[in-house]
């Protein structure tokens, strides 16, 4: 099995403040890494580095076979990011936003229509994003993140603002297909739910890894301890 993500001593500092330090791990392709940790633990920073949006200040990162940030151009377009920010223009409709991203990624317009239906926005697809509820924005953002069928999906609390039915509806999109499961890095504050979908669990506190193990060997109590 090929390695999708390989990190060695990865870290990021903002001036004097260290947001992330000493993250070393390896994630095979098609597996899910779930990152736990309280607010400010460095989860989003890790995701942004993997998405090529931030440069690491220490260590090395190899994503989908390319070294970051030197070869970032090779992996852009193979990565999808669903973060706290939906990356959608509020004054444009979901359809306009997705068509815009589709053209940037060289994706056929038919895929946009299929995704709008898949996330349940078909009837509101022409309304501006600014008129959507938070859950609807999250669904549109999820459609944007998987629009180009990325090999690696980075999900920052993907079920935030979603009702159970919407979360369930998105699951097949975010997980990929059985014959081609996506490699995923997911941040979560839900120990039981996160461990249930994880192959590997990473716990961060103060930007440093304090827990790294196969999910099957990690207990809910261990994850819960990160937040105390």
């Amino acid at each position: 099995m090929t390695t999708a993500i390989e990190l060695d001593g990865l870290g990021r500092a903002y001036g004097e403040r260290t947001a992330l330090a000493g993250v070393t791990l390896s994630l095979p392709a098609g597996r899910t890494l779930v990152v736990f940790g309280p607010n400010g633990a460095g989860k989003s920073t890790l995701l942004r580095i993997l998405a090529t949006l931030l440069r690491p200040t220490t260590g090395t990162a190899r994503v989908l076979g390319s070294e970051l940030p030197r070869e970032a151009w090779r992996v852009r377009g193979r990565i999808g990011l669903l973060g706290h920010d939906p990356l959608l223009y509020r004054e444009l409709s979901a359809r306009e936003n997705l068509r815009y991203h589709a053209r940037l990624h060289g994706v056929a317009p038919a895929r946009v229509e299929a995704l709008l239906d898949a996330v349940g926005l078909g009837l509101r697809a022409d309304d501006p994003i600014s008129t959507y509820s938070r859950g609807m924005v999250q669904r549109a953002a999820a459609a944007r993140a998987v629009l180009h069928d990325p090999e690696l999906l980075l999900l920052d609390e993907p079920r935030a603002n979603l009702d159970p039915a919407a979360a369930e509806a998105l699951e097949p999109l975010l997980a990929g297909t059985p014959d081609r499961p996506r490699t995923r890095v997911v941040t979560s504050h839900d120990p039981a739910g996160g461990l249930a979908e994880a192959d590997v669990a990473l716990g961060l506190r103060g930007g440093r890894p304090v827990l790294l193990a196969p999910a099957a060997e990690v207990t809910v109590a261990q994850v819960g301890a990160l937040y105390r």
Binding site: R76, L88, Y89, E91, E96, Y100
Partner: protein, 223 residues
């Protein structure tokens, strides 16, 4: 070209939905002319004074456009969305410069007649073709600098101040060359050709800064 077209469509759609740039620029320029109309102790202006007023007003009105150029991208994640795409980042610069050029043309469609009505003594009829050439070159230089400087300024806290502070000194050659080219056009019986030296300076400025901006834009977007 598909990327440029997607970026341009997005820019123009956002402007048409929000009217954040062009109406403000137009209103500002007309207000400045009204202020000059009452502030100057003369019924009308022409020649070098008229050229100076027109170019400087265009520049200041354009600053409003510069300050808004990347705001939606910065505040709504447009930068990240674009940076995640496997496309040449220079297209963003080209799209922003082209969009701002279009905003300046829209501004001038109102601004130039307003200037002629409120301030200018001589008629513009004869000099109109030359005037359009000069304005196109001024717009080009302004749009290039604004698209470059806007990308730097928008990521800072003092973006509304920093943009003009960086852009205005860089635009001094555009102001000088633009005013030099305009002043014979804005005299009584103006028109009949443009001075080659200033035309070359303005054209060269646009070319050099255009190439320079293309070269440095990608690293500017890096974290």
């Amino acid at each position: 070209m598909s990327v440029l077209s997607a970026l341009l469509r997005k820019e123009l759609r956002l402007e048409l939905r929000t009217f954040e740039s062009v109406p403000g620029m137009v209103l500002f320029s007309v207000t400045i002319f009204v202020v000059f109309h009452f502030g100057l102790d003369r019924a009308s202006v022409e020649g070098d004074l008229a050229a100076g007023i027109l170019v400087v007003t265009l520049l200041f009105a354009g600053m409003l456009g510069l300050n808004r150029l990347y705001v939606a991208d910065e505040e709504q994640g447009g930068f990240d969305g674009f940076l995640l795409a496997p496309v040449d980042r220079t297209w963003l610069f080209v799209a922003k410069a082209t969009a701002l050029f279009a905003y300046l043309v829209a501004l001038e469609i109102v601004m130039v007649p307003a200037f002629a009505f409120l301030l200018l003594g001589p008629g513009l009829g004869q000099a109109l073709p030359e005037l359009l050439v000069v304005l196109a070159l001024v717009n080009g230089g302004f749009a290039i600098i604004a698209a470059l400087v806007g990308a730097i300024a928008v990521r800072t806290r003092a973006r509304d101040l920093l943009g003009p502070l960086i852009a205005l000194p860089l635009l001094v050659p555009v102001v000088i060359a633009g005013a030099e080219l305009l002043q014979p056009l804005l005299r009584e019986g103006g028109g009949g050709g443009l001075e080659a030296k200033w035309l070359a300076i303005l054209g060269l400025y646009d070319l050099v800064f255009g190439l320079l901006s293309v070269a440095v834009f990608d690293p500017l977007l890096e974290d």
